[in-house]
Amino acid sequence: MERVEIIQLAYLGASVLFIMGLKGLTRPKTAVRGNQLGALGMLVAIAATLADQGVLDYKVIAGGIALGTVIGFLLATRVQMTKMPELVAMFNGLGGGASALVAAAEFYRQSGNPELAVEFTTATVASVLIGGVTLTGSLVAFGKLNGSLRDFRLPKHHIYNILVGLVVLGLAIWFCTAPETTWTFWTIAGVSLFFGIMLTVPIGGGDMPVVIALLNSMSGLAAAATGFVVGNTVLIIAGSLVGASGLILTAIMCKAMDRKLFDVLFGEFAPSGGGPDADEIYAGKIKSTSGDELAMVMESCRSVMFIPGYGMAVAQAQHAVRDLSNLLESRGVDVTFGIHPVAGRMPGHMNVLLAEADIDYDKLLDLDQSNAAIQQTDVAIVIGANDVVNPMAREPVGPISGMPIIDVDKATTVVVVKRSLSPGYAKIPNPLFAADNTLMFFGDAKKAMTEVTAAIKDL
């Protein structure tokens, strides 16, 4: 058997490992094994590539792999779980960036060649475009998640986006028909980077889970496009698997918000006006509470459901929540956690934080389970969540009309732990805060939970 064939066989093996690995990652029991199979597949693919006849010198390769390994290892082992959305955003960006760079390098190698096939140029443009958008889009997402970038929207921002999109498309068609115009290629690369920024700067907060899932998908598609550029099957297979899995997650996130992907990317969110204004809803109806009062409320209750949101992540309150939950359980209270799919800033964000705090995932209820259990719940404690529990979603019209929510207002008593009455991402007031059975606990989530825990112990 020739060397080329052995390498191709190794790629086939790696592809099978990736498929088994991804499948494993979809079941709790097989997830660890799935991740390991994926890593093994990667090892096989890299080893096979190093044996390729086109690879003549190993110094640059070894240096790059060593540097990347050290940085990747440090990032993965040092990161706090609350910073996971930032890390995932950054990895998405690096994956997309790597694919774009490979396509650029390959184009550079070939750019002396006057007769580039249209297949090659199309794939190269696709790779640079998708990879470039993924890179800068992820960097912007990263900046927003760690709080260094604010949402920014030009007047008629979506019109500019469509224009930039058309410019890229026009350049791409031009380049594919006239590949000798090298400058068009590098212009496309530049505009793609700019496009990634334009697409993501106006999107923030509650739409982040959709954006992160979509960027995840795009990092895969960029790799697949690069596979066409260098004519490599394992890149195409692995890339399209990731592209598909990311798209499925994106669809799950969009469904959980009752939003269309197009609206997230190009639409205007929450047309202001129309609805009742905040003062009207809140005036005279807000009941503020304290740790001592809550301790008394919870002394006699039999079931408590926590509904965490982004505020829990910001306050790093998951351990304080765990302490309160353990204390309640030791007193015979039935404790559950109602998790909305888009609570937090990335798919599964709340689950990761609660797992870090050692909370058994059997206690975590999804949207349907939460709503089935909420009517029998004595106390629902909303921690830093807002739009996902806003009863306005049940109204026939309004900015969040139709979005599936956790109906916490159907619990006997609702406690909302929040720093202020400020609106959530949808920028609308929340009638839940003014409901007859709602108590507002103003303050930092971690401090609030600690106070309640201490007060219950003092009873």
Partner: protein, 90 residues
């Protein structure tokens, strides 16, 4: 080219088929794990940076190798760390 397109289409369908009904607990690990797999670009990066005499393409490739390796190593490791937390209470 047709062969590559065929492979691409089939792989997309396989992807949609194997990822059905992911429990919410695994949304983040699935994302970070699959993201590590998208670091497969490292294979392309190696192919473009192995020239006998380093040129500009080699150095672009070097950047790609660093990016992709961070993605691969960091992605698989952090996924493992997360899944470890999920396991603890079994």
């Amino acid at each position: 080219m047709i062969t590559l397109l065929t492979i691409f289409m089939l792989a997309v369908f396989v992807g949609f088929e194997i990822i059905t009904k992911v429990p919410p607990t695994l949304h983040t690990p699935l994302m970070s794990g699959s993201n590590a797999i998208s670091g497969i670009a490292v294979v392309g990066a190696i192919l473009v940076s192995g020239a006998a005499d380093p040129n500009t393409a080699t150095w672009i490739g070097f950047g790609a190798i660093v990016f992709a390796t961070i993605n691969v190593v960091g992605g698989f490791l952090v996924t493992h760390r997360m899944l470890d937390m999920f396991k603890k209470k079994d």
